[in-house]
Symmetry: C2
Subunit: 278 residues, 2 copies
Amino acid sequence: MQRIERIKEFGGWLERYEHESAACQCKMTFSIYLPPQAASGSVPTVYWLSGLTCTDDNVRTKAGAQRYAAELGLALVMPDTSPRGEAVPDVPERYDLGKGAGFYVNATQAPWDTHFQMYRYVTEELPALIEAEFPVIAGARSITGHSMGGHGALICALKNADMYRSVSAFAPICHPSIVPWGEGCFGAYLGEDKNAWAAYDATELVKNGAKLPPCLIDQGTDDEFLAEQLAPEDFAQACAAKQQAVELRRQEGYDHSYHFIASFIGEHLAFHYRHLSA
Amino acid sequence: MQRIERIKEFGGWLERYEHESAACQCKMTFSIYLPPQAASGSVPTVYWLSGLTCTDDNVRTKAGAQRYAAELGLALVMPDTSPRGEAVPDVPERYDLGKGAGFYVNATQAPWDTHFQMYRYVTEELPALIEAEFPVIAGARSITGHSMGGHGALICALKNADMYRSVSAFAPICHPSIVPWGEGCFGAYLGEDKNAWAAYDATELVKNGAKLPPCLIDQGTDDEFLAEQLAPEDFAQACAAKQQAVELRRQEGYDHSYHFIASFIGEHLAFHYRHLSA
C-alpha cells in the first residue's frame, strides 16, 4: 500500500492510496479522510460507495462530507467504483458497464470475472486493509453511497447482517434486476440466471428474508433517473411486507446530483454516528 | 439574461445564467445561490471571485459554501474568471493568460482590451444586474475569492471604499506586480507602465493610501504557490505601515486547493455575515 496524496482538511487529513488488490487482481485506488480525532485515538468508519462513472475523487471533492466527519470524529473510506488499468476489460462506449461501473458484484462471466470482484473488495479486502493500517475501531463500520453506490451499500448491509451498524443511501438503485442499468450489467457480469441477480438485488434480498440494520434512504422527487432506474417504492414495499424498518424520505425538488448529496450528507453521517457510538 | 440551470440545494436554489455583457462584449455566465430565506425576503450578497483556470463551476461544486449560505441567509454570486467565446483572444498554451485568467483588471492593450474588462464587469455590470433581478438587499455586499480571485476581492474592495461591507481572501495574490503570475498578465493586459499595474495591485494600493473595509485573509503554510506567487507578508507590511487593520491567519499545513477553502469558507461567510447584518 502506497500513499500517493495527503491534503489537510478541516483539521484532519484526506489521503489517497494505491494498493495491489488480490480480489480485483489489479492496482486499486482509494481515499480516506481521517478526522482530527484520529490523531489521538481510534475512530469509527463510514464507507462511501460511489455511483456510475465516478472514482474516489467525486465524493471527496463534491459532497462536503469531510466537514461533518471532522465534527463527529468519523473516518470516511472512499473506494473506486471498479478495477482499473489496461488489463481490465471495458466497453468504452458504455458508461454503465465495465470501468466505473463495477456494480459491487462478484462477476462470474468472462471476460469480467477475473477483475470485477468489487463485492469481495469492498466487504472483505478493503475493510481488512483499513482496520490493519489506520487508527479506526475494528468492527465499528457503517456504509452509505449514491445511486449505483446506494445499491452497493444496501446489498453489502443486507448480505452481511453483523458487519455494519447502519446503512444509508442517496437515490439508490433499489431493484436492479428490473431496471435498465441493472439489467445491462447483471446480464454481463452474472449471466442469464435471474437467481444469481437476486443475490445482488436489495429488493429481492429483502423479499428472500435478508435483515437490514438501521436504514435511512433519501430520494429526490426531481431526480432525472427516478422513474426509469431507481424503484425505491419496490424496496419500501418489500421491507413493509417483511416488517423490516426503513426510513425512506422523499426530498421535494431535489435531483440526482452531488448538490442533493451535499444537502443531506450531514444528516446521514449524524445517523451513522448515532449507531456507531451507541 | 437567461437561466440555464436550476438545482435545489440546502433548501435554496443554485442557478446559472447567461447574459450579454456590455463590459466584456461577449456572453458571460455566472452562478448564484439563493438561500431559503430569499424565498420570502431580500438577503445580503457575498461575491466570490475564482482563481486561475476556474469557471463559476469550481466554487459551487467544491467549496461547500452553500451549506453556510443557507444557514446564514446569504446569496452567493459566482462569476466566471474571464470573457469567453470564439471571438475572445487566448493563449492556449498558457493557463495564466487569456481565458480563465482575466485577473479582474480592465485591459488597455490590444488584443485584450476589447473583451478583458473584468474589473468593470465584477464591480459595475454584475452587481447592477444582480440587484435588479434577484431578491437581494441593494448595497449589502461583501466580497471574497481565492488566489487570483483573492487578489480580485482585495482590489475591488480597496478601489471602492464604500461598495463592500467586508472583504476576505484565501491565498490571494497580494502583490501581483512583483510575482510571475502578475507580471505575466499585467504586462500583457496593461502594458509596461508600472503605474498602471499599481492601480490593480493590493499591496501598492494600500501603500498609496487606499482604505480597507474589515478584512480577513487565510493562507495555508504548505501552499505550493506561497513562496513564488502570493506575497502575503508584503500586503501585511503595507497595511501595518498605513495602520490598516487586516487579520492575516497562517493556517498550518494547508495547501492551495479547494480542500483548504472548504475548511475555512464557513468562517469567512460568518465574518461577512457579521458585517452585512451589523
